[in-house]
Structure formats: structure tokens, C-alpha cells
């Protein structure tokens, strides 16, 4: 128990000092990455329960527009902004609740496509609704604070990401994980012993929608502009999926690692070289992940570490090149 508290304190301390150690451009990159990491973690909570969504932009954009509408009149103090972000999350949770009954009737590709269509419905409606700005969108003031804006933004999203990771990690030690693992392994047997697929997938969808709504509501203050093509864009549905697949969505930190690595690669290597063509990176990862590492890179890292360890131990005891090949 004590090491958990210690590691939590270490992470919090690292987060508290991080903004003072880096330049503004790196900080902005880090904030955007944490937004994506949060969606990727929430996406993976649902994916672990057996449903891979292609429309998380619906939750993200809804949270974003709720926050934009609530604070359209002027800047938000820190307290107000936090309250509004929570409201954004709760409204997205409401959407998840409404969607859960019809959409969870089906699984796999059918659920994924239905989510894609739902996100597109929100996108098209938002483009036409005049009171939320239509195609022109809404301008939103940033968060008022005595600290530099980026610092306070970093703290908020750092906390949200931490919350998502902790929820995802706590779920690992509950009946939720056991039930969803059983459903993944053999759905017929699992259902026969009384595990309800819909029940656990509904929990996962609610949590996932809530966390994604939080990050959407936060993102409005970062972006200071809510526009349908951005907030309900397919990027917020596909990119988190790519991060989670790349990092490995059966592990808690996999989606975070995926978001950091892929976004760094995109931001510092691909975008400067290719401009808008850098989307090829995401396509390439999807292809390779589906074919070669459906469980992401974290198991590969684990295996690599384990292999290195055994090899080092072997080298200490005896040295035989034949055994090393196995």
C-alpha cells in the first residue's frame, strides 16, 4: 500500500514542477498530448470491455460545446472552468447512457460503424445550429488565473489524465476486468454462467464517455474556439484509437505511451517533413498494428525487457551460445 502512495506523490510532484522546466512550445505540445492520452485511455476502457468505437468525437465534441456555451459570455475563473469541465463530462455521460441501450445491442463492426454515424450526426447538426455558431463556431476566452495560462492548463489536464489512468487501473482489480476478460475469451460460456455483456459494456461506455467529455470540455479552453469540423472531426475518433492500438490497450499506461510516442513522432518528424501528409503515419500504424501487434507495443517492450533480463542472468551463470538462440 505504501509504495502506491509514494508513486502517486512522485507523479504529482513531477507534474507540479514539470511546467517550470520546459519551454512554452514543449508545454503546449505536452498539454495537447495529455488531451489525446486521456481520450485514448477512455477509448481503451471501452475496448477492453469488447467494443471498439469509431466515434468518440461525439463525446469529445459534446463536452467541448457544453463548455463553450456555458462560458461564451466571457473568461472563466479557475473554479468556474473546473465546474464547467465537470458539467461537460456529465453531459457526455448522459449521451453515453442514451446511446448504450440501442447501440450495445450489437457488437464489433456494427457497434463501431454505428458510433461513427452518431459522431457524424453531431457533426452535421452542429454545422447547422445557429445558436451554437453554426459553421463559424464559437469563440471562447481562456482560463483567467494568476499563474501563466499554460501552467494552469497543464495542471488541469494532468489531473484529468491521472484520473483516467487511475480509473482504468482500478478497474483492473475488480469484477469488471474478470467479467470482461471472460466475455472476450468465450462469450457463450461467459453468458451461460450469468455474466451480462450489456451490463459491463454499459459501465465501460459510461466511464469512457464521461472521461472523453471532460477532455473535450477542457480542450475548448485550450483551443479558445469551438468549431464543428474541429470538435466533431474524425481525428478525435481515429487518433485515440491509433494511440491505444500502438501503445496496447490491454495495459493501463499503453495508450498514454502510444499518445506520447506517436504525437512526438508526428510533431517533430513527420509534420515538418510532410505537412498535412503526416496523416500517413497514423494510417501506417493502424495497418501494422492490425497485422503484426494487435496488443500494441507494451507487450513487446515487456517481452524485450524479460528477454534481456534472462540473457543477463544467463551470462552471469554460464555462457553457451546455443541456448541463447531459444
Amino acid at each position: 500500500m505504501r509504495w502506491r502512495l509514494l508513486s502517486l506523490i512522485t507523479v504529482l510532484a513531477a507534474g507540479a514542477v514539470a511546467p517550470f522546466l520546459v519551454t512554452d512550445s514543449i508545454l503546449r505540445f505536452a498539454i495537447n498530448t495529455l488531451v489525446m492520452a486521456t481520450i485514448a485511455v477512455s477509448w481503451s476502457i471501452l475496448a477492453r470491455a469488447g467494443q471498439e468505437s469509431l466515434g468518440h468525437a461525439a463525446f469529445f465534441g459534446l463536452g467541448a460545446y457544453v463548455a463553450a456555451l456555458l462560458t461564451a459570455d466571457g473568461g472563466a475563473s479557475i473554479g468556474l472552468a473546473i465546474g464547467v469541465i465537470v458539467v461537460g463530462g456529465v453531459v457526455a455521460l448522459g449521451l453515453a447512457l442514451v446511446l448504450s441501450t440501442p447501440l450495445l445491442r450489437v457488437q464489433g463492426a456494427y457497434f463501431a460503424l454505428a458510433m461513427l454515424a452518431v459522431a457524424e450526426i453531431f457533426h452535421r447538426v452542429a454545422l447547422r445550429l445557429e445558436f451554437i455558431g453554426g459553421q463559424a463556431g464559437l469563440l471562447v476566452a481562456g482560463i483567467d488565473s494568476p499563474l501563466p495560462t499554460y501552467h494552469i492548463e497543464f495542471y488541469i489536464i494532468f489531473f484529468v489524465t491521472l484520473l483516467a489512468v487511475i480509473i482504468s487501473w482500478r478497474l483492473k482489480n475488480t469484477t469488471f476486468e474478470l467479467a470482461t476478460a471472460a466475455l472476450r475469451d468465450n462469450i457463450t460460456t461467459a453468458t451461460a454462467v450469468g455474466i451480462s455483456r450489456v451490463k459491463y459494456q454499459r459501465y465501460a461506455l459510461l466511464i469512457s464517455g464521461f472521461l472523453t467529455g471532460l477532455s473535450g470540455a477542457f480542450f475548448v479552453y485550450l483551443n479558445q474556439y469551438a468549431q464543428p469540423n474541429i470538435m466533431f472531426g474524425i481525428e478525435f475518433s481515429l487518433d485515440p484509437l491509433v494511440f491505444a492500438l500502438f501503445g496496447g490497450f490491454y495495459s493501463v499506461v499503453g495508450p498514454v505511451i502510444g499518445a506520447v510516442l506517436v504525437r512526438a513522432l508526428d510533431f517533430y518528424v513527420f509534420s515538418p517533413l510532410l505537412g498535412s501528409g503526416s496523416i500517413m503515419l497514423y494510417g501506417g500504424i493502424l495497418i501494422v498494428a492490425v497485422l503484426y501487434f494487435p496488443r500494441g507495443i507494451t507487450p513487446l517492450i515487456d517481452r524485450g525487457v524479460a528477454r534481456l533480463r534472462t540473457r543477463l542472468e544467463e551470462r552471469g551463470e554460464r555462457h553457451s551460445p546455443e541456448e541463447e538462440q531459444t
Binding site: 464489433g108 463501431a112 454505428a114 454515424a117 494510417g283 495497418i287
Partner: protein
């Protein structure tokens, strides 16, 4: 009353053309090819450049069809071979990846500027309203192509093999059909149909690499509504959707038609996954 119906038929034929390649490949190979939307846009780009060079829309159309059919040969190795037999969801994720790569390549090569294929083919008038000649040509092309495809599927030995493969691949192979060849040819046909769709799309709507989502989502709407693999269903769904959108747009704002069709897509996916005209439960 007549004008919106004709308008709807003309728009609807575009939806039918979007859906054709998707439904052929999906029903035969069990691959829901999301990249099809980007194939269509690639067809628009080929038609755009060839038409601009030669001044002839026919040349643009032929180039788009041939170009995509030729690109589909290496594409078969990249897209179809690796994911045969994977789950439907994995084929969707994989082909999304393929689509994003095509989008990136198009954006790098041709920038993200809006483009429109220039045409001055003239127009025909019915009952006092003029309709653009290209869109009427699109309707005729759709009718001819869909008839040919129906004949291919239902009146030839190859069509028997196609339908066989979609039900049971091993049994079809044992009956002496070359299933690899069936997959290959169906993929080429599906890509070529994207060339036709791309050319007629590029004449009426301005396009850019990310615009692939428009043909893609409409293709999914008509294919899922019709039921995967149903050719008559596809024609009814596509034309019907065009007419409904056109009729609602004369009463309600234009965009309500789009929203209605998306609601229909969700409802069919969730409540009737085999589609409205499908004979069998679609492949899962």
C-alpha cells in the same frame, strides 16, 4: 413535384455508384473496405487532371477507371491479401489505415486545395427545368453499370463463383472455382467502379483529400440499408435516398435529409443488421 424527383434520381445514382464497389467486395470477401472512399477521391483527382489536360470528360472518365483498375493490382497485394479471414472490425480498422495513407499521399502530391472538374457538356430540360448533361450521363452510366454487374453476378459462371465464395469459400474451391482469382477480379471491379464514381463526384462537388468521408459515409448508408450484397436493394436504397433527400429539402432545410439518412444507418445497423433487402445476415 417532378423536378425534385428527377433531381433525387440524379443525386441518388451517385450514391449507388459509391456503394457498388463497397458492397461487391464486402459480400464476396468479407472485407468492408473503408479505403473505398479514398479510392473514389483518387478517381476524382485522375479525372480532374486528365480532363484539364485533354479537355474531354470522356477521357477523364476512362483514365479514372483504368487508372484505379491498374493501381488495384498492387493494391490487391497490399489491401486484400493480408487481411483475408480477419474479423470484419479488423478489416475496417486496417482499411481505414490504407485510406489515411492514400489521403496523406494525395495531400502531399496535390495539396489540400479544393478542386472541381470543369465541364461544359450542356444541359437537357424536362418540363421547363434544365438538368446538367453530366449528371444525366451519370444516371445513364449507373443504370448501364448496375445492369451489367447484375448480369455478371446472376447470369455467368463467374457470378456463381462469386456468390459461392461469399457463402462458403472452401466448398466453392472444392467445386473447382479459383477463389484467389475471384477475389482478385472482384477487387479490380470494385476499384474501377470507384473511378466512375470519382469522376461524376468531381464534376458536381468540389473535392480535396479529406472529402473522402463524403462518398465513404454515403456508401455505407446505402449498402447497409440495402443489405450487403444485394444489387437491386442497392439501386432502390440509393435512388430512394436521393429522392427522399431531394423531397425533404423542398420542405425542410437541405441538411435534414443528411441527418435522416444517418439516423437510418444507425437504426438499421442496430435493429436490422441484415439490411432492408438482404437475404442473409451480413457477415460479421
Amino acid at each position: 413535384m417532378l423536378t425534385p424527383i428527377i433531381d433525387g434520381l440524379l443525386f441518388g445514382s451517385l450514391y449507388v455508384l459509391f456503394g457498388l464497389g463497397l458492397t461487391l467486395l464486402w459480400s464476396t470477401t468479407g472485407i468492408a473496405n473503408v479505403a473505398h472512399g479514398w479510392f473514389v477521391i483518387a478517381g476524382s483527382y485522375i479525372a480532374y487532371f486528365v480532363t484539364a489536360e485533354t479537355g474531354s470528360l470522356t477521357a477523364g472518365l476512362l483514365a479514372a477507371v483504368l487508372g484505379l483498375a491498374i493501381l488495384a493490382v498492387p493494391g490487391y497485394v497490399a489491401v486484400i491479401k493480408p487481411i483475408r479471414g480477419k474479423s470484419l472490425l479488423n478489416t475496417i480498422l486496417y482499411t481505414f489505415g490504407v485510406g489515411l495513407i492514400i489521403e496523406g499521399a494525395l495531400a502531399t502530391a496535390f495539396t489540400t486545395d479544393y478542386r472541381l472538374i470543369q465541364s461544359d457538356v450542356g444541359s437537357l430540360s424536362f418540363g421547363g427545368d434544365a438538368f446538367s448533361g453530366v449528371r444525366i450521363a451519370g444516371f445513364v452510366a449507373m443504370a448501364v453499370i448496375l445492369t451489367l454487374v447484375w448480369l455478371l453476378v446472376h447470369r455467368t459462371e463467374f457470378g456463381i463463383a462469386m456468390r459461392g465464395v461469399s457463402v462458403n469459400q472452401d466448398a466453392t474451391m472444392l467445386m473447382g472455382a479459383n477463389t484467389d482469382r475471384v477475389y482478385f477480379i472482384v477487387f479490380i471491379l470494385s476499384a474501377a467502379s470507384a473511378g466512375v464514381a470519382g469522376m461524376f463526384l468531381g464534376v458536381t462537388n468540389s473535392f480535396y483529400p479529406h472529402y473522402a468521408l463524403f462518398p465513404l459515409i454515403n456508401a455505407f448508408i446505402v449498402v447497409v440499408l440495402a443489405g450487403v450484397g444485394s444489387i437491386p436493394g442497392l439501386v432502390i436504397a440509393g435512388l430512394g435516398l436521393g429522392i427522399v433527400q431531394s423531397l425533404t429539402s423542398s420542405l425542410l432545410p437541405v441538411w435534414t435529409g443528411e441527418i435522416i439518412s444517418l439516423f437510418l444507418l444507425v437504426s438499421v445497423l442496430v435493429f436490422k443488421p441484415e439490411g432492408l433487402f438482404g437475404e442473409q445476415e451480413a457477415l460479421r
